[in-house]
Symmetry: C2
Subunit: 353 residues, 2 copies
DNA sequence: ACACAGTCTGCACGTATGTGCAAGTAGCTT
DNA sequence: AAGCTACTTGCACATACGTGCAGACTGTGT
């Protein structure tokens, strides 16, 4: 009932041991019940151990004595508690520690900036990895029971998905914002993997969106968008509470997934250049001033129009690397972002205006 | 500007090193500024270290390299970050883990119960200490900027105050709910110490309440209550956002402070017995059914009437030890509590109804 | 009943973190 | 400028924690 479910065809990622699996769901078979009981006790003990450890500052040795077990088991219980999201750790930045320059940026764009410290020496890959890890942990604060989160999968989201902190939620769902298929693959495996990880971490239903990232013919999109199965997903997208996305940029050394995997051809790139495009969110392109109207490719894009996106109440953007700065400025201009998770160096670039 | 301030006469507790002190506040002397700068940098580094440690899972060794310092300094920075409340750790209990019996109690009394695990073998003193520690950490979630918290000091509150987790708040205040003076001492030192610790932990202003715990003559109270200086405090009490209190009980092996320190004489005890009193909150007594009308001593008590208390939006009660069970039942009957922090054994007793 | 696979446990060891101490540093006083 | 105090730093050691491994245990299939 609470296990994550992946709808629509698509491979299911192999899961880590211990996770409840929704498949084979003949319910209430006796072993299942016993298994459930055992898992329950484990959670019980983990919760108790975590409480004693984090709230009462006991050492694991002392906790072991109280639980009549070994210290190493306690260590494992507490690890489990953390992994299962029973323990939540936040680092809070007091308001007065925010530089006035950053404050000005925040006020101007109505955005909350979460700065991720990364040494200047780090390469782009490490940088992304670390921003993604921080983002994954911050995200838990934005998502809760009864909510819908839309995800614009891509290389940044893939990194985020690999570091998600589990959190128990009920009646929540994850919806894919843009299609994944291209001329070479159906893209479903890649996108599905990302989506599944989100679903698994939050115990949320996953709504996939089985369409190409870009249509060849806008008319096809128009037609398909009238299908009820597709409209159902579009409708969920329209009502999402949180949108999570990275930024694509045509000029990065580490180009977004969309720019490097056969989604676009030479004509397309020429067209983007002609329209002065600086970036995209979920396959929808925009210019430096934030405008996205009259960019030809957008009529073939599978992602939500930017003005629709801007109506979502929380819009979380994860950005790493200075090469995405133009894209970031454009996204801010378009008011696409309410919460920005970004590495230190990129923020500094942003402040020089 | 943000330093805690203790108003009204009363000794100031010696503070730990490093704490900003509000005394001698000739502002903007150059050393102060320099000192401030240094403290600022420390917070900056601590924040960064904490971020790298808790959000990015780096080892202290790695963080030391990034910060160009030694591993031991990083260890100290992270300790500092925790002590200063820059890091917040919560252990969350998923809803489905709450037993149905407890759920019933919660629903019946409109109360959220926070169960503190304590081994049955623990003695009353340890028990109190551990409940207090948990309470202190949970409390941070209830109190924030622009809020007023009322505190009914006593032995439980004293224990809580010793374990408070600092949290940065602005424009918040702590108000004392009942007087402290008795026939033997002014009680100010003891109460002031508790209050100060709260003020220090949250950076809140402290409003003391310099009256006796119990008046000899109700008329004196009536008169004093008309004084503007007193009415100012009473007014603050009336508008508090959070009330925090323990429970007194006449029949405990570890009696509440109020019962053991010369606040009451033999006649008083006889009177309490005659009225079938089972407990008190902030010097105001009540019976098993929660009623407090016509308990003679209440007209001489310095704490807020219970019906006034019950109008506060969040009312946090900390209880440890089965001996307080009758007092707890009474307090629940009187709807005095919205959040109950209590040890496991006592909860179990509560469930047997 | 037996063998097998999967899981859990405690031990022993290795790694990571906490802390007393001596030396160093900065600001203040004389 | 010297001397003082209060504080910070890194080292070396002490403690606490994480984890591979072998044995115990549980449930399953033959």
């Amino acid at each position: 009932m609470n296990a994550p479910v992946v709808e629509t065809s698509g491979e299911r990622t192999a899961e880590h041991s211990g996770g409840a699996d929704a498949s084979n769901s003949t319910e209430k078979r006796p072993e299942r019940a016993a298994e459930h009981q055992v898992a329950n006790e484990r959670v019980r003990d983990a919760l108790r151990a975590a409480h004693l450890y984090y709230m009462q500052d006991l050492t694991m040795e002392a906790i072991a004595a109280e639980l009549h077990t070994s210290r190493s088991s306690v260590s494992r219980l507490i690890s489990y508690a953390r992994e299962a999201g029973l323990v939540e750790i936040q680092v809070k930045t007091p308001a007065e520690r925010i530089s006035t320059a950053l404050q000005r940026v925040q006020d101007k764009h109505h955005v909350t900036v979460h700065v991720v410290p990364v040494p200047d020496s780090a390469n782009e890959v490490d940088r992304l990895e670390r921003v993604a890890m921080s983002a994954a942990r911050i995200l838990g604060q934005f998502f809760d029971s009864n909510m819908t989160m839309g995800i614009a999968w891509g290389s940044t989201m893939s990194a985020v998905s690999r570091h998600l902190q589990p959190k128990v939620t009920h009646n929540s769902q994850i919806v894919q914002l843009n299609g994944a298929a291209n001329t070479r693959t159906t893209g479903i495996v890649y996108a599905s993997e990302i989506m599944s990880r989100f679903g698994l971490a939050y115990g949320a239903y996953v709504q996939q969106f089985p369409v190409p990232a870009f249509f060849d013919d806008p008319a096809t999109k128009q037609v398909l968008w009238r299908e009820r199965s597709i409209r159902r997903v579009l409708d969920i997208q329209k009502h999402m509470d949180v949108a999570l996305f990275g930024l694509g940029t045509p000029n990065s050394e580490v180009p977004g997934h969309v720019y490097s995997s056969g989604y676009l051809d030479e004509n397309d790139f020429a067209s983007l250049a002609a329209s002065n495009v600086v970036g995209d969110v979920a396959t929808v392109f925009y210019r430096a001033d934030g405008s996205s109207a009259d960019v030809p490719i957008n009529s073939r894009a599978s992602g939500p129009p930017l003005d629709q996106l801007a109506r979502v109440s929380r819009r979380v953007c994860v950005v790493s690397g200075k090469s995405r700065m133009p894209a970031l400025r454009g996204a801010l201009a378009a008011h696409l972002i309410t919460d920005l998770i970004v590495d230190e160096a990129t923020v500094h670039g942003l402040l020089d205006e």
